[in-house]
Symmetry: C2
Subunit: 357 residues, 2 copies
Amino acid sequence: MAASGKIVIALDGMGGDRAPDMVVRGADIARQRYPDSTFLLFGDVARLQPLVDKTRWLKTACEIIAAPDVVTNDDKPTVALRKRKSSSMGMAIEAVASGDADCVVSAGNTGALLATATVGLRVLPGVRRPALCTFLPTTRGETAMLDLGANLQCDANNLVEFAVMGSVFAKSVLGIDTPTVGLLNVGAEEGKGSETLRDAAAMLRVEDSPVAFHGFVEGNDIGGGTVDVVVTDGFTGNVALKAIEGTARLYTGFVRQAFRTSTLAKLGYVLASSAWKKLGQRVDPRRYNGGVFLGLNGVCVKSHGGTDEIGFAYALGVAVDLVKYHFSDKVVEDLGRLRQALGEVPIAAADSAAGAG
Amino acid sequence: MAASGKIVIALDGMGGDRAPDMVVRGADIARQRYPDSTFLLFGDVARLQPLVDKTRWLKTACEIIAAPDVVTNDDKPTVALRKRKSSSMGMAIEAVASGDADCVVSAGNTGALLATATVGLRVLPGVRRPALCTFLPTTRGETAMLDLGANLQCDANNLVEFAVMGSVFAKSVLGIDTPTVGLLNVGAEEGKGSETLRDAAAMLRVEDSPVAFHGFVEGNDIGGGTVDVVVTDGFTGNVALKAIEGTARLYTGFVRQAFRTSTLAKLGYVLASSAWKKLGQRVDPRRYNGGVFLGLNGVCVKSHGGTDEIGFAYALGVAVDLVKYHFSDKVVEDLGRLRQALGEVPIAAADSAAGAG
């Protein structure tokens, strides 16, 4: 945060299916919610200026900065990296790297954002691999899950670092004092799963660990809210997240169809409309919009590409929470504590940066 | 099938949380549905005989055979294997191995059943590893998914064999003429995922393959019904299946809660009761009860341990479908066709049996 206490948010003005309109309107909502925030908006000035001029809250707190290039959804990460100094995405990340902004939010191409942010911001000292994290609705509230696809294969050290980062994420964004952390496995018993999982569990069970480790959890524990943080490799996490999204869509469709089967059912549907509205709010995917790249030297939030301004404003809220909580500092601190508990030598920053390449 | 056209079903009379009552009542329902079926019921005769005597359809088509031992839910596979010749589970499997029965159904301990069936029935010629398969509701109907946990790590050959077995499963149990098969991955593009997945995809794309290979699918494609068969390793499949079950439970709970929020909503709920009933039938977990161990030299169906007689009867229906379709013969045939298409030498039965240990 700037010394003034204001939070400066760098925005990729051109990222997302409905950009730039959605980005500007989402930032306007966020500016109303967080009056301490100011915005650096990167992109096509000719398109952005009239949109910003029409806003109610944003227009007095937003600087538009020209970015000649755009990262498209089809751009490979290598192409995005080449546009790093000229694209709206790359320049927004650069603003965080240079200290001009406290965080960056983009609804653009995920792979491009991950690659550009990793190169532009570098990984935090002590972190081998950054991870993609989000939170999901459960029967008890919300659960954070990581990694969601940044690292398809993970070793025990990666998983342990994800546990630390996920724990700090749950503290900062979900507001949980002592979040419990579970490792995703095919059974809860200690001997289950791969050697990697058992090694990671052994490390997390160490005395004086900064992580409240619950043990192994299974797929149904995600929606069941058994733990506050679910840690897994990027392949499994990606499949599980999408399987959950697909099932949510399936059930919503089933319920809707069921109420179309008879006139009485339709009447019942109308009478229950307030209930539907409440249900809709509870599982609104826009509320869960804000995949965060954890482990970078700066806060970087990825909004869904297809989101609207409401969803984008939620993603901005996640970024604000992380900045206010001093997320990165807390991760470095907790990683240091864990390494000390494990009797390990802290990993040098240079070493960890090389490891993330 | 016996020469008479009758199907002989071997039953583990003592397996399942509600056994033996549930087993006997489920078999009674199945006997009414499949009048060609007869039953060999293994277990405690003193407990089973009075239950069978009370049935309407089963009592004239059921032989009770004394089994002195029971495999408990806590028994390790090694313990279950030691009881192989004396337990209700082991003896039921043995009846299939000896040719006295066409299939075996058990609601007992999954790990014990897999181990005992693999040793007792042996794997099919040409199959390296048996896999656990089930089917799930989707927006378009039903999708089969395998492996669900029998093999936590899989190579490309394993996945290819799962694709063949899953395809024949969808033909026999789901009644689909040309089932499409997808490999579960983190993206649909050809270059995505691990080398193992890309190798398996390359093999499945061969000309004259007996499998209608769709390509890679993602987690949301399971509920979306994009393909008829989803193939994955046992770790990912287990996590995805349980994540889907957990989400289904979460949404059912959310809907129920939403309708309790106001009097109008409660009235709407009552008016829509027929719609709820239809929805309940559509997603009734009992309908999807019947995990099958594919790739063994004999049909072996695993019912959920906690199921009731309705669910157990569905599991019996899956077994009947597989026997009637000559599932094992078709798998051997299609594996041969695929190996020929790939220009490979067929794997000898002995070799494959050794590989499954």
